[in-house]
């Protein structure tokens, strides 16, 4: 178990905002943390655990850059308070690689140039992983629709779809 504390300066009056104790299971490892109760799941991951894969594009639940999986389902972590996720299993982009081997979607995004600045990419990939699990990657129309919560301001949408299609058809081929 790893312990992470919110830094407070010596002699500092403690915040009127109560701290909370929370254990987040991130990418398979438990982290016990003491956090300002206002800390979002996104900020807990980024600022407190140093997992900066998940990105902040709006902090308002409207861009998808902060998408992570909680118990296998995608959520926008900027709209989630860390305190609500005590004991839950969280997967971030950093947790996708399997022993250094990238996830097929990570490779497909590279192959299809499914990004430009790359800032939306962690969220896009996590959403795409979830899409497959949700059974919504079967048709182009589904991919379009159910990837529409992830904004790409660089406009890589066609290549994002191509990358997802590629992985889905690979998976289908493999299962035949």
């Amino acid at each position: 178990m790893k312990h992470v504390d919110t830094p407070t300066r010596p002699g500092e009056a403690t915040s009127e905002i109560p701290d909370v104790e929370v254990t987040l299971n991130v990418n398979g490892d438990p982290y016990r943390m003491r956090l300002d109760s206002r800390v979002t799941l996104l900020d807990a991951l980024r600022d407190h655990l140093g997992l900066t894969g998940a990105k902040k594009g709006c902090d308002q639940g409207a861009c998808g850059a902060c998408t992570v999986l909680v118990d296998g389902k995608r959520i926008v972590s900027c709209l989630a308070l860390a305190a609500q996720y005590d004991g839950r299993e969280i997967t971030t982009l950093e947790g996708l690689t399997d022993d250094g081997e990238p996830h097929p979607l990570q490779k497909a995004f590279a192959r299809h140039d499914a990004f430009q600045c790359g800032y939306c990419t962690p969220g896009q990939i996590m959403s795409a992983v979830s899409l497959q699990a949700e059974g919504r990657a079967g048709t182009d129309a589904d991919i379009c629709e159910f990837m529409s919560g992830n904004i790409c301001r660089c406009g890589a949408y066609p290549n994002i779809r191509a990358a997802i299609r590629d992985v889905v058809s690979e998976a289908n081929d493999a299962s035949v």
Binding site: T14, I17, G155, P158
Partner: protein
């Protein structure tokens, strides 16, 4: 020496995967807000809630007492700062928090520093401000607004426009408008400043690290060598990162005061008021043509908005002067000073707005003449640069039109309005042409070859998603005769050789020529070392007689006479060799050619549901002359991304300013519309033409040209489908209900 024309070479142009793809797909690419420093504290900004007037009082005592707060800085306590330097792009923004005046909504009026971001944000909400409001000028057509005439000296006049209109059989004379748009790169702009005595390290969401360095040095009166600016990855910019905005200065100021590293991340709403935007425009365009389709006169007058005490380069009408062969022409640009956050470049500044009016009006002329709009454009094709009277250094726009039309199936278009249908959907075909201006400024690079035969090439450029890391790695590998994986190109650090901004579609050209020269000079260094070396098969060889290939240099006419870089280094006891290169933009008069930017033809199919007013872009073909394409894959991505930006400009984006208060009414991603995945069809990109003749490498920037023309092409397609001519962006459902 190796030339780029060598047909045996395949690295250049190949659509290799981005070299930074493994980092970007695993979360290992670090953007400015991913960095942290020991002891780092956090800043939050307080923004003005009025658009004009004065701060009567500002009370920070409650904020100061809030938990975790280290300091609250206001104009009452801020140190006196001078304005940043004059740059290639004009003056720096005025220094922040120097007095009690309010010039726009969202102006930074206090900065709070606290231990945690949550504490800083909370404390920022406790700063009490009383204002003395004044009436804000917010409307571009407000007669009280100060007007700047011909602010950039780019107005054009040739022939006699009145005579030209008198000769015309058809005259189109219309008013077009475009709204404010906000760049909104996905990465929230972030600054981190960490001082050590009189030196400072800055992480910044910038497209131009050297500009940040120069500005910080000048504003804080420290030597430039004491400032290091880092931006290895930036979460997009689209122009927002071209200037050193106030939040960066305030971060450095706050860090100096609290003597701790300070991080400031702008909120999304602050991204609407702090880092520029595409200003709105009102344009009057008048075009005359004979019945056979010869343009007799073009008159294009435009006004755009600008902030009270700042500047922006936005010559909206000027581009019309070079688009067509037309004997009589007048363009005139103006700006109106308003109480608005300062506009700035946004992907294809000026061109994005001006081309909408010009290329829509050309379509209006074609319709009035009953002529195919493609034919009208080809008929008035500018074979020479219409202003300079010189041949273009390259122009394959004709090929763009013809190949694009073929790929798109333009010949299937039946000209009558509403004549194409697919079930309940009305179908419209539209097109637009684009002549993007040339822009290039000096740039430098350095190439080193190490003892193990690998190369390291650097320049303080940025890769904002453009593919700079990748294409420069390819180019250096090509020039030095190395495999891609033996070359690393690095950027985003102001300690590297000088690079200009990633902007104006000018970086790739400037940097590629600098990298090319650095690599050439590096080969010369090697030849210099073996000049009198009896042990070397290259003894006495001149650079022109030598080819670099397979990690070695050999005599071009005798490939077996050569040796590896590593052999030369070893024999001479050297760890590495380095050489610099630089590029300067060509002078058209000297080379006898008009330096050309990229050209493009955009073909669009729209679908409209006449009952519901639904508008869908079904297909887009972009045919682009981008000179030499260094990497098909990343260049296509640039065009696709630009096209998405153009669809966005045409159908989605409008920054809404509240008429009474100057408040941005839709400053969130929930309210400010941008296309999502389901709005964007698969699109085709084809590249036409070949290397440009004005520079050695022959690239032309492709970062912006893809956006331009989309608004007009979509508008023209809407007209074809419905007979409605929409002259005001964005095209929204209320304009389409039939």
């Amino acid at each position: 020496m190796t030339t780029l024309e060598d047909p045996t070479r395949t690295v250049i142009g190949e659509g290799v995967d981005r070299v930074d793809a493994p980092l970007k797909t695993t979360g290992a690419a670090h953007y400015p807000n991913d960095y942290t420093y020991p002891g780092m504290v956090h800043a939050a900004l307080v923004g003005s809630t009025i658009a004009a007037g004065r701060i009567r009082s500002i009370d920070a005592s409650e904020a100061q007492r809030a938990p975790g707060v280290l300091t609250v800085i206001t104009h009452l306590t801020a140190p006196q700062l001078e304005r940043g330097p004059m740059t290639l792009l004009g003056p720096s923004p005025p220094a922040p928090m120097q007095d009690d005046r309010i010039l726009h909504y969202g102006q930074h009026i206090a900065v709070v520093v606290a231990d945690s971001p949550e504490q800083a944000r909370h404390a920022a909400s406790l700063v009490n401000v009383e204002y003395e409001p004044a009436e804000a000028l917010l409307d571009i057509e407000d007669p009280r607004a100060e007007i700047l005439e011909n602010p950039w000296g780019l107005d054009s006049e040739r022939g006699d426009v009145s005579a030209g209109f008198a000769q015309a059989d058809v005259v189109v004379d219309e008013r077009y408008t475009t709204p404010d748009n906000t760049n909104n790169p996905l990465g929230l702009f972030t600054s981190i400043a960490s001082w050590h005595g009189d030196s400072v390290t800055v992480h910044d969401s910038t497209q131009w690290p050297h500009n940040v360095r120069t500005s910080i040095a000048q504003i804080f009166r420290i030597p430039e060598s004491g400032v290091r600016v880092l931006a290895p990855f930036v979460g997009g910019g689209f122009g927002a990162g071209l200037r050193v905005w106030c939040h960066t200065i305030l971060t450095a100021m706050a860090a100096r005061e609290v003597k701790r590293p300070v991080k400031l991340v702008l909120t999304r709403p602050q991204m609407f008021t702090s880092v520029g935007h595409r200003p709105n425009s009102v344009q009057h365009i008048k075009i005359g043509a004979t019945s056979s389709g010869d343009l007799t006169a073009i008159e294009h007058r435009a006004i755009s908005s600008v902030a009270m005490e700042d500047d922006d380069y936005e010559p909206v009408a000027a581009g019309s002067a070079v688009a067509y062969e037309c004997p009589n022409l007048l363009t005139h640009d103006r700006q109106a000073r308003l109480n608005i956050p300062c506009p700035g470049s946004m992907r294809a500044p000026a061109e994005g707005q001006g081309n909408f009016a010009l290329e829509s009006a050309i379509d209006e002329v074609a319709h009035a003449l009953g002529m195919d709009p493609l034919e009208l454009r080809l008929r008035n094709y500018a074979e020479q640069h219409p202003v300079l009277g010189l041949p273009w250094s390259s122009k394959a726009l004709r090929e763009c039109y013809t190949l694009g039309a073929e790929r798109f199936g333009w010949s299937r278009r039946t000209p009558a309005i509403g004549s194409m249908r697919d079930g309940d959907w009305l179908v419209g075909y539209g097109l637009a042409g684009v002549s993007y201006p040339f822009y290039q400024v000096p740039c430098q690079a350095r190439a080193s070859l190490r003892r193990d035969g690998s190369a390291y090439v650097t320049s303080a450029a940025t890769d904002i998603g453009t593919g700079t890391y990748t294409v420069m790695t390819q180019l250096a590998a090509e020039c030095l005769g190395l495999d891609l994986n033996r070359v690393r190109f690095d950027l985003g650090d102001s300690d590297m050789p000088y690079s200009p901004q990633a902007g104006g579609s000018g970086l790739t050209g400037a940097l590629a020529n600098a990298v090319h020269m650095a690599c050439g000079n590096l080969v010369r260094e090697f030849l210099d070392i073996v000049r009198d070396d009896d042990a070397s098969p290259l003894r006495g060889a001149a650079a022109e007689e030598v080819t670099a290939s397979g990690g070695r240099l050999h005599r071009t006419d005798a490939p077996d006479q050569g040796e590896a870089y590593t052999d030369i280094l070893n024999r001479h006891g050297l760890e590495e060799l380095s050489a610099d290169g630089r590029s300067t933009p060509p002078d058209p008069q000297k080379i006898g050619m008009a330096t050309a930017g990229a050209f493009g033809a955009k073909f669009v199919e729209v679908r409209i549901d006449p009952q519901l007013g639904l508008l869908r872009v079904a297909r887009v073909v972009s045919a682009i002359d981008g000179g030499r394409i260094l990497n098909e894959k990343t260049a296509s991505s640039q065009i696709t991304g630009g096209t998405v930006g153009g669809i966005s400009q045409a159908m989605f984006e409008e920054t809404a300013t509240d008429a009474g208060t100057g408040r941005i009414a839709n400053a969130t991603f929930g309210d400010y519309l941008m296309p999502v995945n389901a709005d964007i069809p698969d699109m085709e990109v084809i590249f036409c033409g070949g290397p440009d003749r004005a520079t050695t490498v022959g690239t032309k920037g492709v970062g912006e040209v893809g956006l331009v023309g989309m608004a007009a092409a979509i508008g023209n397609a809407i007209h074809h489908a419905t007979g409605r001519r929409l002259r005001s962006l964005p095209f929204t459902i209320d304009q389409l209900l039939l």
